[in-house]
Amino acid sequence: MAEPRRGPRVGLFVTCLVDLFRPTVGFAAVKLLEDAGCTVEVPRDQTCCGQPAYNAGDRATAQDLARRTIAAFEGFDHVVVPSGSCAGMIRKHYPALLADDPAWAPRAQHVAARTHELVSFLVDVLGVTWVDARYDDTITYHDSCSGLRELGVKAQPRRLLASVRGVKFTELPDAEVCCGFGGTFCVKYPDISNRMVEDKAANVASTGAGTLLAGDVGCLLNIAGKLKRQGSPVKVRHVAEVLSGLADETPPIGDAAR
């Protein structure tokens, strides 16, 4: 008797912000991956990819966290991350960070090569062309910087969103311009960050869309925080929430429960 065919074994790197702020995104990622035939596991030993330390110049801490993350994930066929920023850290920066460590450099390269941002993994690796979901609203989309420029995430979310029933898509002016989050940038230089997120919020408003999506919770917290402070009715969600059909399960980011 033939074994039932098993899909790839995927380790989900949840990310700090999804874990803490938006667990729904984690479950949305799991559902999308399982629907596409993957077996999903969430290693308990994961914490943070180390990017905050890396970008603060604390290389030793970043290396330490990179090694822990690699150890927790190197046994999987793929590592999938519902964030372009954290995926970019593992995929693009771990090999550089550990290049001088003969024991870890190959392990870093091994994990880096298998690490993907969620939506681009679905489209580019698994060949997913549509999702079974409904979302009745006009949507606009912010391209988060790391996903866009480090990983080439641009067409993939638009492609899958086009298959969601009820969605009307409208492009965001300056969609590729940074929202001003930038990790610790937003608290180190709050005035500049504010200027940038004000521009982003104004662009969102100019589209007339009812919902803003993006692929990174960091940017979403920033943009939602600005829109909510302005009293904007625009709903803010992670793209995976809409693609998985889980948007009904939790209020939009920064909105009160209905």
Binding site: V18, Y189, P190, I192, V197, R229
Partner: protein, 475 residues
């Protein structure tokens, strides 16, 4: 130039409150971006040329001393003089010496960032000479007594009304009621005033976009033609250039020229690209009798062999600042020293010290647009991160940030504690938000910068790890 880079946050705040500046930034930044994108799009080989430009400059940097020697010998062969200067001070003295020897009174100047770097105007003025900037943008800011705010558009931040005010204040021999509302009128007036200056100048100083080792030529790339008048009319032409400007051959410089204007202004080619090789030749009816090249190191050679070597590939097109959202928010003056924007955030700490310029490499979201448009593919974010590493090593960052990172790092290394702390934080923030879905203020002073301008969306209340463990338990 006196640095105010250490007060970048205050400079930035002032810039954000300056309505004229904000208007000018909003008006200009998209134009630069659209024009560059169109020019890049129109040349199918553009990306491949960027690769070649990068490789070519890497080759030059690995052979920098020998190309400089070759350049020098060609200049001397053609009757020119080369002045090697380690520091800004040496360069100022060299230029002053040339001017004094020529008995100069008026010195016209083409646009040069190196001249800004060594603050040559102040030095000449202090010795009784009259330096006149002739690039329109530079002329405007010279009248306004301020530094350039952009490396290729020095008066980027000035409105036409402010230009008119500066002209009325300076050109007192013209009728006070003349109309100066339109850019055309302003340009005509500047042309008239500067023509007189070109004629009376004894020395003309220009920068150089490139130096060619093959021929001993210096190159200026301009649009106005002021640089050409500056170097053709006076008796003496002084070129001031940093050592990283040298390029092996005319073919090599052609490759870089294909990248420069497209990246800078989105032009296919600038109006004037001029190659100067030595002084006036026998029989020539015009041109300078003396030709001097002042070669400035000022800390650049020390960058070779370090993690900052690649920044020496820069050809000063300004694309990084044109596409930088931080530059686009605060403009160039906020950076506080000669080179603003992403390339400034890498070069300034190298030239004036990381202690003075420490904010600059931090004032970036690492959005990566600078690297994405840099014709020389300089990994600017990576190098800003290297500066942050130096600051971390030298404990230059604020104590609160270091401590915060320390605590966070302690937890992040211990998954059990980390998950427990995340659970607590999620609950606490959720409770504090009530039924609102967001928080308008936070008890942590470190995060006040966030809530000053925006709400903090509340967490859902329980962490993913917690919920996932439950779900697994049920299965």
């Amino acid at each position: 130039m006196e640095s105010t880079a250490h007060s970048f946050p205050e400079n930035a705040r002032r810039a954000l409150q300056d309505d004229t500046l904000q208007y000018m930034l909003a008006k200009s930044r998209s134009g630069f971006q659209l024009r560059r994108a169109a020019a890049a799009q129109r040349l199918p080989e553009f990306e491949a040329l960027r690769d070649q430009g990068r490789d070519l400059k890497n080759h030059v940097l690995e052979h920098l001393d020998v190309y400089l020697e070759m350049f020098e010998s060609k200049v001397v062969e053609r009757g020119g003089h080369v002045h090697w200067c380690r520091t800004a001070e040496e360069a100022r003295e060299a230029i002053l010496g040339i001017c004094q020897k020529a008995g100069a009174k008026t010195v016209t100047k083409g646009k040069s960032m190196i001249a800004e770097e060594i603050a040559v105007n102040d030095h000449l003025e202090a010795h009784g000479l009259i330096p006149i900037e002739t690039d329109l943008g530079e002329y405007i800011i010279q009248l306004r007594k301020e530094p350039p705010s952009h490396i290729i558009a020095p008066a980027f931040h000035v409105s036409k009304e402010q230009v008119a005010d500066a002209f009325r204040a300076a050109h007192t021999d013209l009728p006070p009621d003349r109309p100066l509302e339109e850019p055309r009128e302003l340009i005509t007036e500047a042309r008239l005033m500067l023509r007189r200056r070109f004629q009376e100048a004894d020395v003309g100083i220009t920068g150089a976009n490139f130096l060619v080792a093959e021929t001993g030529s210096t190159i200026i790339v301009t649009n106005e033609g002021n640089g050409d008048l500056t170097q053709t009319l006076p008796k003496v032409h002084v070129v001031i250039a940093s050592i990283d400007k040298v390029v092996p051959t005319l073919e090599d410089v052609s490759t870089l020229l294909r990248l420069l204007a497209r990246s800078a202004t989105g032009q296919e080619f600038s109006a004037y690209t001029t190659f100067s090789t030595g002084p006036r030749r026998p029989g020539d009816l015009d041109g300078p009798e003396e030709f001097h090249v002042v070669l400035l190191d000022n800390g650049r050679s020390a960058l070779l062999g370090t993690e900052f070597q690649e920044v020496l590939r820069c050809i000063r097109c300004g694309a990084c600042m044109n596409h930088c959202p931080v530059y686009g928010s605060v403009g160039g003056h906020a950076y506080g020293w000669v080179y603003p924007g992403p390339v400034g955030a890498v070069i300034d700490p190298a030239l004036i010290g990381i202690k003075e310029a420490g904010h600059l490499p931090n004032a970036s979201t690492f959005c990566g647009r600078c690297e994405a448009v840099c014709p020389m593919r300089i990994p600017l974010p990576k190098m800003m991160r290297h500066w942050r590493e130096k600051e971390f090593e030298e404990k230059l960052q604020p104590a609160t940030m270091r401590q915060g990172l320390g605590v966070w790092g302690w937890f992040a290394r211990r998954p059990g504690f980390y998950h427990a702390a995340a659970r607590m934080t999620a609950r606490m923030l959720r409770r504090a938000s009530g039924s609102d879905g967001k928080l308008g203020s936070l008890p942590l002073p470190m995060l006040s910068g966030w809530t000053e301008h925006r709400d903090l969306p509340a967490p859902e209340g329980r962490t993913f790890q917690e919920l996932w463990a439950e779900r697994r338990g049920k299965k």
